[in-house]
């Protein structure tokens, strides 16, 4: 071999930076309906190529095609559209509320609504999600009251978490939504532990782990894959690849593996990639993975290929690190528009009804917001007591905390 010269250090870079023309020509998009749907007890070794493809159901004409189509009724699809539209409207209002100083922080889902909304419909009551901060669709699609979500965001007197948690770090055991940490990736191995416990207890409930593309670099992600693989835990391992971890493009966490789904291959875990902006595809793949888990076939890794159309959070400005028009150039489109077009194509929806639904949803969200604001916002109105700050550290307050609470005069 020829002399390669001195060593060179390699740092991956995204294709385009601000000022450049968005270019996703490197993202290979298979035709909708082209990826086969294997049986759930398939030998993982025979479907390794699925970790490098993208399962899609909705085509450009708005038709649902291929072996992953046909699982949802018109009513279910209309409900799904409503969930996504509700989440988008909820986000817009809360984003604005943050700008108005009614809370400290917010994180929206713009462009990623299909992932959590469709996934929720593939689960059964009693199953448990271990979400990140960008899966509020799991709550919306499960009928969790928006007012309660807003009370948490406002840290007001009716906040179920007593003002202790950063906005949007919800918790609802009843709705299968594990308390969001805010630290990244920790929940991934916890989800596997929950699933192990369900199997140990000969239960029928399954767990779902959630993580973003960037956080797959954390060691807890890899620990989770080892444990899930070793104990064949009944868990769906979700990776939401929205291309950006704050300002860091997904190539920094992905390295040379090609895709995030491919991470599962070394663990012998069936690993699928799915069009994250396709409600039908997300639901179909989630259902396949959930069925595998429930049938004692163990974990499935699912990478949702999507795009974070909004900022990371209200503290972030994406124009500093990616082209402004990149979101419009994203080849998988917008999940709400795609499902809307599909339903119009099917003749069960129309532009007029859509516009009308938007107005109705906005009205509902505003009504919820008014009710929540009646309980206070972060800096005005009712708020959790200082006493609440000392409660709940332990089941029973130890003497040293009691002394400190007395010192604080509460």
């Amino acid at each position: 071999m020829a002399d390669a010269g001195l060593l060179r250090f390699h740092v991956p870079e995204p294709e385009v930076r601000p000022g450049g023309t968005p270019d996703f020509s490197n993202v290979t998009i298979p035709k909708a309906g082209s990826v086969p749907r294997p049986e759930i007890d398939v030998d993982p070794r025979s479907i390794r190529d699925m970790a490098f493809s993208i399962i899609r159901v909705l085509n450009r004409a708005g038709e649902a095609v291929g072996p992953w189509a046909g699982l949802l009724s018109d009513e279910e699809l209309l409900e799904g559209l409503r969930h996504m539209m509700t989440l988008r409207t909820f986000d817009a209002r809360m984003q604005m509320a943050q700008r108005q100083g009614k809370t400290s922080f917010y994180m929206q889902h713009l462009g990623e609504e299909a992932v959590s909304c469709a996934f929720r419909k593939a689960l059964k009551p009693g199953d448990m999600n271990f979400p990140t901060y960008r899966q509020a669709g799991l709550l919306i699609a499960d009928g969790y009251p928006m007012v309660t979500m807003m009370n948490q965001i406002y840290s007001n007197e009716a906040d179920p978490l007593k003002g202790r948690q950063l906005p949007i770090m919800y918790s609802s055991k009843e709705h299968g939504f594990f308390s969001i940490s805010g630290n990244l990736a920790t929940q991934y191995i916890q989800a596997v532990g929950w699933a192990m416990a369900s199997a140990i207890s000969n239960d029928s409930r399954i767990a779902a782990a959630w993580i973003g593309d960037g956080s797959t670099a954390e060691s807890d992600f890899h620990a989770a894959l080892v444990f899930a693989s070793t104990y064949k835990a009944p868990v769906v391992l979700n990776v939401v690849n929205n291309q950006w971890a704050i300002s860091t493009f997904q190539g920094i966490a992905r390295g040379g593996s090609g895709t995030f789904a491919a991470r599962g291959l070394g663990f012998g875990i069936p690993s699928l990639r799915v069009d994250g902006n396709d409600y039908l595809a997300v639901h179909a793949v989630a259902k396949w993975a959930a069925e595998r888990a429930r049938a004692n076939l163990g974990p499935t890794l699912v990478e949702y290929v999507t795009y974070r159309a909004g900022a990371h959070s209200t503290s972030d400005d994406p124009s500093a690190y990616r082209p402004k028009a990149e979101s419009d150039a994203w080849p998988l489109g917008d999940p709400v528009i795609r499902l809307k077009n599909h339903l119009i194509h099917k003749g069960v929806w129309s532009e007029d009804r859509h516009t009308q639904a938007e107005a109705e949803i906005l009205e509902t969200v505003i009504a919820a917001q008014k009710e929540a604001e009646g309980h206070g916002t972060l800096h005005a109105g009712g708020k959790p007591s200082t006493r609440d700050m000392f409660e709940g550290v332990y089941a029973e307050m130890p003497p040293h905390l009691r002394r400190q609470r007395q010192q604080a005069g509460v």
Partner: protein, 337 residues
Amino acid sequence: MPRRTIIEAIRDAMDVSMGRDERVIVYGEDVGFFGGVFRATQGLQAKYGKSRCFDAPISESGIVGSAIGMAAYGLRPCVEVQFADYVYPAYDQIVSEAARLRYRSNGDFTCPIVVRMPTGGGIFGGQTHSQSPEALFTHVSGLKVIVPSNPHDAKGLLIAAIEDPDPVIFLEPKRLYNGPFDGHHDKPVTPWSKHELGEVADGHYTIPLGKAAIRRQGSAVTVLAYGTMVYVAQAAAEETGIDAEVIDLRTLLPLDLEAIVASVKKTGRCVVVHEATLTSGFGAELVSLVQENCFYHLEAPVARVAGWDTPYPHAQEWDYFPGPARVGRALVETMEA
């Protein structure tokens, strides 16, 4: 009453707990078939099956992280970290997750887990098998921290920890596993079978968390100790002839401040000893509490005897270990001050 080593007492505590409550699950590295490198879980897999006692991959954050998920489900995992020195990969899971789950979810989810780990030196384990990281856990709100010093307490405290509704860090002084060790490494060790605290009742009993025990009554000076140092302090008192009162804290968090204050007010002098490094050690907390609560009763500055602020050395183990000579010197100086 049967006499047991600390290892046998700990195994018995898990056996009793697993027998009483099927939610109790035991796992960790080498814990299943083999029964643990210190044999604390020997026989448990054979008795309760592989679903209740099993081997884990070498991943401390995986072990503790999965235990948190199990606890959220409703089980009561009691997991082993092979050495306290190996706990750091799990530190995030313990500090950011286990400790705060109840608080951040307002009780929607709780975390009744026990993380057992052998702690302390005296076995020529070098820097990676000798550390005493208790202060890294006492600094975290939401945790409870236990360091037993004898078989009787080890069993009662471990059962109490497993039944506790909150996460407990259970540090087992490994130099005490087979007998009380007073720091005289060149002398043969008395086995627990010849020590009254080696008496461990069969069946279920608990020792409440947050209660200290007086191991040696005295009136001249109070020594605050836990784990291995309880015996070192007793030896120092005997060898110097100083009438020291030795308090075994047993639980560091919550702490039995009442017992500490009562003793120091009586003696007017206090020496704090621990094996862990000095700076920002748990001793600093104890000294602060003593001066805050007993200042006008003190007749001498409160002294600390601790491990030197170096990594735990191998060949120099007995120069590092705060043995009876160093504790004795502190007692004499405190009496003369």
